[in-house]
Amino acid sequence: MSMLKIGDVIVEDTFAEAFPMYATRILITAINRRWALIAASVATGFGTSIIGSPGEAGIEGLVSPKATPDGRPGALIQIYHTDLASLKLVTIQRVGQCVLTAPTTAAFDALENSRRKMAVGRALAKFGDGFERQGIMYNRKVWRIPVMEGEFIVEDSFGIKKAVGGGNILIIARNQQAGLEAAEKAVKAIRKYARGVITPFPGGIVRSGSKVGSLKYPKLRATTNHLYCPTLRSVVKDTRLPPDANSVYEIVIDGLTKDAVLLAMGLAIKAAASVPGVIKIDAGNYGGKLGPYLLYLKEALEVAKDYDVKV
């Protein structure tokens, strides 16, 4: 079996196991970038893993005023959930609590081509207590909800898409410093070159990768990924860590399409592998039994081969 290598870094011939999730993508605009970003970051707060947070969410990127419907600076956010009903509930809560309340903001559908829509704006419009009005603005069906500041413009419906959640890579490094640097670079590379993806964890990085179920506590849904814990190397029999590895970081990627996630993985691998001290790139999976999407690292690198990653 040929071993894939980038420089000295071994890329394990394995795959990340990903699951279908429903996603929505919302463009939040505001009077300036600062407020768009504040609203976007609050609206995507505590949106890490579906295991324990109300939906996975993250900021995809900033949008130039030229590309937004109302010509104001914007930020794109994505929200993920396992089913449509929960996704809508979470979106209503997040937009209602974090965007409706934030100064000067407006919220637009950023999945215009999607066939399925959820009427989040219509649900939020009830906040207008009967004074809300429906209208057409920027060629979009919107609700104009009177608020103390003026008016909150929210699009009637946001598109929904069957997307891919749980794409990931594991960066195995000689020490924490190198690992963290590599992980940060990987996230930066995704932010810079990839579109349509989010990295929902803090700063895009997970230090506590998990496995499904538990060895000891039968009812726990997720517990520490003991096979990759450096402190357990001597305790755990079939540890997956090379002898000189002392720190592992995971990058989790949710994306609107499988290809988008693959590309993001490839970019992340490339960026991480460029950092000295990184030993190996691996990925989390459950033997291919659970997820319908098997995202091979090999393929990811293939997709990203034309990108000259500089971060």
Partner: protein
């Protein structure tokens, strides 16, 4: 090797009213002398009679202590004999003929085979074991009783009906498998919180009403679906409990009204007209 003894029960006269024969289980036969078995209590309508009033019994003079070693065969029963196999834990019951209500009610193990039709509440609230019916069955198969919370229905085991079945199949079931080879009635798998229901034929109105989890597979046509089920994907082929259906199925998630994550999978080919609208929603 474990020896199995067989008790043959032959119906003497056809009873004219419902009979509550909850004492016909391997558990109540176990460890009894033949005389003891003959004088087991049976209710004919509201009257108390004994097993020998209703049946000729052939079998060894003393039953083994372990009900697992007892097989009961009932010949020529009609659709009035009810509650056979009530709470049975081991052993087997074979009914050559029709059977009444509540066959295998609260059953905990063992097996029941009916070569004929059965009536309502087949395997209701059963915990484990297997039931196979070669004829038709009526309503409330593997169901909970009315008024109980969802999840108080069937908790495990398998029910296989080779004929058709009625409504309310698997109402409030928690686990286990129900397979219907023929058609099924309305509101299949309502209030389900787990388990699997497979309908190989057609099915009536609103399968999965208020289901919160579990899986319903319908291989034939469906009369109507609830709007609270959200279409998820088209699947081909569909594999469920070792059965492979080689055609495309449309998979729904619901019931959204109870925040459910149940899977409702309906044959696409047999319901093209009904499902066309949903297909448009899929990419």
């Amino acid at each position: 090797m474990r020896m199995t003894v067989t008790y043959h029960l032959r119906l003497k006269d056809k009873p004219s009213v419902l009979v509550d024969a909850r004492s016909i289980t391997p558990d109540s036969f176990a460890g009894k002398q033949l005389n003891g078995i003959l004088s087991l209590r049976i209710l004919e309508g509201g009257r108390q009679i004994t097993l020998q009033d209703l049946f000729d019994v052939d079998g060894p003079s003393e039953a083994p202590k372990d009900p697992g070693e007892i097989a009961i065969v009932i010949d020529g029963s009609i659709n009035k004999i009810s509650f056979v196999g009530y709470k049975m834990s081991k052993g087997s019951i074979t009914i050559n003929g029709d059977a009444g209500h509540f066959i295998g009610y609260r059953m905990r193990g063992g097996s029941i085979v009916v070569h004929g039709n059965v009536r309502n509440y087949l395997g209701a609230k059963m915990r484990d074991g297997s039931i196979e019916v070669f004829g038709n069955a009526e309503h409330w198969i593997g169901a909970k009783l009315l008024g109980e919370k969802p999840g108080k229905g069937m908790k495990g085991g398998t029910i296989i009906i080779h004929g058709n079945a009625g409504s309310e199949i698997g109402s409030g079931m928690k686990s286990g498998t129900i397979i219907i080879d023929g058609d099924a009635g309305n509101s299949v798998g309502n209030h389900m919180v787990g388990g699997t229901i497979i309908i190989k034929g057609n099915c009536g109105l609103y399968p999965g009403l208020e289901m919160s989890s579990g899986r319903i597979v319908i291989n034939g046509s469906v009369e109507a679906l609830l709007p609270s089920f959200y279409v998820d994907s088209l699947i081909q082929p569909l594999k469920v409990k070792g059965i492979t259906f080689n055609k495309s199925f449309m998979s729904f998630i619901g019931d959204a009204l109870v925040g459910g994550h149940g899977l409702l999978q309906v044959s696409y080919e047999d319901n093209k007209e009904l499902l066309e609208e949903f297909r448009k929603l899929l990419e």
